[in-house]
């Protein structure tokens, strides 16, 4: 009976894992781009992600309160929510860079890291304070949008909700768009130049600070989009929601090869799948001895194994140039 279930749920677990993986991938982009350009880990990125989730929720809740929610079709609604989340998170990321990182540009490596951790704590409680004053509750629930909760039957035992499909589609669109932007446009070239050598790029007439701000803006926007999609997908958010997905996405970035954009995507999906399969299969395979709560131990053990054999991440050695 157990083996029967094991096989029966396989496609469903796969679908859930891919969905989760793309959330990680979108967040991981923010970590990896900033690392690519500044060689610094922006630990406040998980709060930038949460910012996107909160602004998305607020937009939906305000529309719900004004009665506009029912009258707007689902897709334009999604575009509005995503745009709001991305704008807020991107703006916040740029502001954080300007206030907390730029003044420390010349300082030793650990100093901006500490600053990032401080910003992370500050933002968590700032969001909590604002929401508590504004709504008298600091965990928000996304209003249910019927269209997104519909399920599409793939085969007899597997279905996927419209919101998971949307999440995957939007993520792929953004990831492809970002790759094209960084690889094919003049601005993308300028970012890559700054990543390679700030001083020389500056001498070639590239606005280094501008490019760094742009990197934060893009990474923040991706994080904000991930936040809004996360909210639509999983329903409930609070100011501390970002911590775990943030850590996981950072892991995904390292797994894929930090500083490498396709690597972040790959790392995100691999981690999402590992986690999903570990959580669903662990207790089935061990006869209940190891429950779903061991999923992180399993996922991170795999990570250690992968990094032992490929210390620079899955794609870290393939691509020489950063970003």
């Amino acid at each position: 009976m157990e083996w029967d279930i094991l096989i029966r749920i396989f496609p469903q677990v796969l679908v859930d894992g891919v969905t989760l993986g793309f959330v990680y991938a979108l967040i991981a982009l923010g970590y990896t781009m900033v690392y690519g350009v500044l060689e610094m880990i922006n630990f406040a990125h998980s709060e930038i992600f949460v910012m996107g989730a909160f602004v998305g929720a607020e937009v939906l809740l305000i529309m719900q309160a004004s009665g506009a929610l029912g009258s707007i079709p689902a897709l334009p609604l999604l575009v509005i929510v995503l745009a709001a989340g991305m704008a807020a998170a991107g703006g916040l990321a740029v502001a954080v860079e300007r206030v907390a990182y730029r003044p420390l540009r010349g300082a030793p490596r650990l100093v901006p890291l500490i600053s990032a951790i401080g910003v992370s704590f500050f933002l968590q409680d700032a969001i909590r304070l604002t929401e508590s004053l504004w709504r008298n509750a600091f965990f928000l629930t996304y209003p249910t949008i019927a269209f997104f909760d519909e399920r599409i039957r793939l085969v007899a035992t597997v279905d996927i909700s419209v919101k998971s499909l949307t999440l995957i589609a939007v993520s792929i669109l953004m990831l492809v768009g970002l790759s094209l932007f960084v690889g094919r446009t003049k601005l993308g070239k300028a970012i890559r130049a700054v990543a390679e050598d700030q001083a020389t790029a500056g001498l070639m007439g590239i606005n280094v600070n501008g490019m760094i701000s742009l990197t934060f803006l893009i990474g923040g926007m991706m994080g904000g989009a991930a936040g809004a999609l996360f909210g639509v997908q999983y329903g409930t958010i609070n100011p501390y929601t970002g911590f775990i997905p943030g850590i996981k996405a950072f892991t995904a970035a390292v797994l894929g090869g930090i500083g490498n954009i396709p690597g972040a995507m790959l790392g995100g999906v691999v981690l999402g799948l590992l986690e999903s399969f570990a959580a669903s299969y662990m207790s089935l395979l061990s006869g209940g001895a190891f429950g779903a709560e061991y999923k992180d131990i399993f996922a991170f053990s795999m990570l250690i194994l992968i990094l032992i054999f490929r210390p620079r991440g899955l794609l870290g050695e393939v691509v020489r140039e950063k970003l």
Binding site: I5, T144, G235, G288
Partner: protein, 400 residues
């Protein structure tokens, strides 16, 4: 030769430390003030209930203290245990240094109350719990510990009996939150399920708060007749919502941790029709609590939360015990031990929620258990939830 600066630096540091650090002399006692402390989460995901406990106790002191306790001014000192064991214990160590604190009303979480009450026990400080249901609270046999609510072992048993006999459930999948409370009540449900004709398909703990997909997929594949969630509403709400969204049709059930207006806020339609067992009904279930509800609303501009009335009763019992202890001490301020003994000697006390007597462990005898069905996804209609069953059950004898 350069002289080492270390001894000088150390001396200066010691001097500065001596000037800055507070001396370890306990706070000096005030002559005619008695303080009652509350310990409950005033911040964080469970603060709705925690603030409700503090407010219930405050209302009791406002209305009853001057009438019952003569010769002393009674003050409430609220502490925020954040629903975290380490914070609860730190608060406990802090509050026992104040000699005016003669009683604690708290906690919300058994996982916090158990370690914190070790500190109270070492200091003979009486704790009256308005909400803790874990058997260990009283089974340790501490004289300082008394509670006004029932126990998880009985609650798990009531839940399993109701599911098997009244709802005719044949199979159950049990999920819990890995806390002393959630896992405890889930285990008692599991142990009682087979006796009531229910097959247990799975038993799983999780601390996850957002994404339950990986847990729900195997549950869906096993198609249980019921899912029992041993835990608290902030996690259970998300879990139930995602379970329904995944197309799982099982009945839902949970313990008294479900009892909050935040559950429908989080889970919406998903939880309509589900049952939960509780040791503390909504205040509206108690005939004696009508005036309390009106007074609470007048003072705090919102409905009392679950456990607010129990907090009021806990505090009221405490005040009565204080008055008895003062009388026995000839009008002088009683010691903590005297108050502790006075609490245990309370018999046939008529509170808002029940008439209370306690057994030797500090469990109410008898304790009242309810089975309640949720009728609406509107948080404003939480008070109209349907009372399905009321049971009066004697506490189990102390296990030695």
């Amino acid at each position: 030769m350069k002289r080492s600066r270390i001894p000088v630096t150390l001396a200066v540091l010691a001097l500065v430390a001596a000037l800055l650090l507070p001396d370890n002399v306990p706070v000096s006692a005030q002559q005619n003030v008695i303080k009652i402390a509350t310990q409950s989460p005033l911040s964080g995901g469970q603060s709705t209930l925690g603030v409700g406990i503090k407010d219930g106790a405050q209302l009791c002191i406002d209305q009853q203290a001057a009438r019952i306790v003569t010769g002393f001014r009674v003050q409430l000192v609220p502490f925020d245990d954040q629903a975290k064991p380490d914070v609860g214990v730190a608060n406990a160590k802090n509050l026992v240094t104040d000699p005016d604190i003669l009683l604690v009303v708290g906690h919300l979480n058994s996982g916090v109350a158990i370690p914190s009450s070790e500190v109270y026990n070492d200091n003979n400080l009486a704790m009256i719990s308005p909400a803790n249901t874990n058997p260990l609270i009283t089974d340790r046999g501490y004289r300082v510990v008394t509670r006004v609510v029932g126990r998880d072992d009985v609650q798990g048993q009531v839940g399993a009996e109701f599911a098997g006999k009244d709802l005719k459930v044949k199979s159950v999948y049990i999920v819990h939150d890995k806390t002393a409370y959630g896992q405890g009540v889930a285990e008692f449900f599991r142990d009682n399920a087979p006796k009531n004709g229910i097959q247990v398909l799975g038993f799983e703990g999780t601390e996850e708060k957002a994404n339950f997909d990986p847990i729900l997929t195997p549950i869906g594949a096993r198609n249980p007749g019921m899912i029992y969630f041993g835990g608290i509403y902030d996690q259970a709400g998300v879990f139930f919502k995602q379970a329904r969204a995944k197309g799982i049709k099982a009945l839902f059930m949970g313990p008294d941790g479900m009892d909050s207006t935040d559950l429908p806020k989080i889970a919406g339609q998903a939880i309509v029709g589900m049952h939960y067992t509780t040791v503390a009904g909504p205040p509206a279930f108690y005939p004696g609590a009508a005036k309390f509800i009106a007074d609470f609303k007048a003072k705090y501009k919102r409905d009392p939360e679950p456990f607010s009335a129990q907090a009021y009763d806990s505090c009221w019992i405490g005040l009565t015990a204080l008055a008895n202890a003062i009388k026995a001490a000839g009008g002088k301020k009683p010691t903590r031990l005297q108050v502790t003994n006075a609490v245990r000697n309370i018999k046939g006390f008529k509170g808002l929620t029940a008439t209370y007597s306690f057994d030797a462990k500090g469990d109410p005898d008898p304790a009242v258990y309810f089975v309640i069905q949720i009728v609406s996804s509107d948080p404003a209609k939480w008070g109209q939830n349907k009372l399905i069953k009321t049971l009066r059950i004697k506490p189990p004898a102390a296990k030695k």
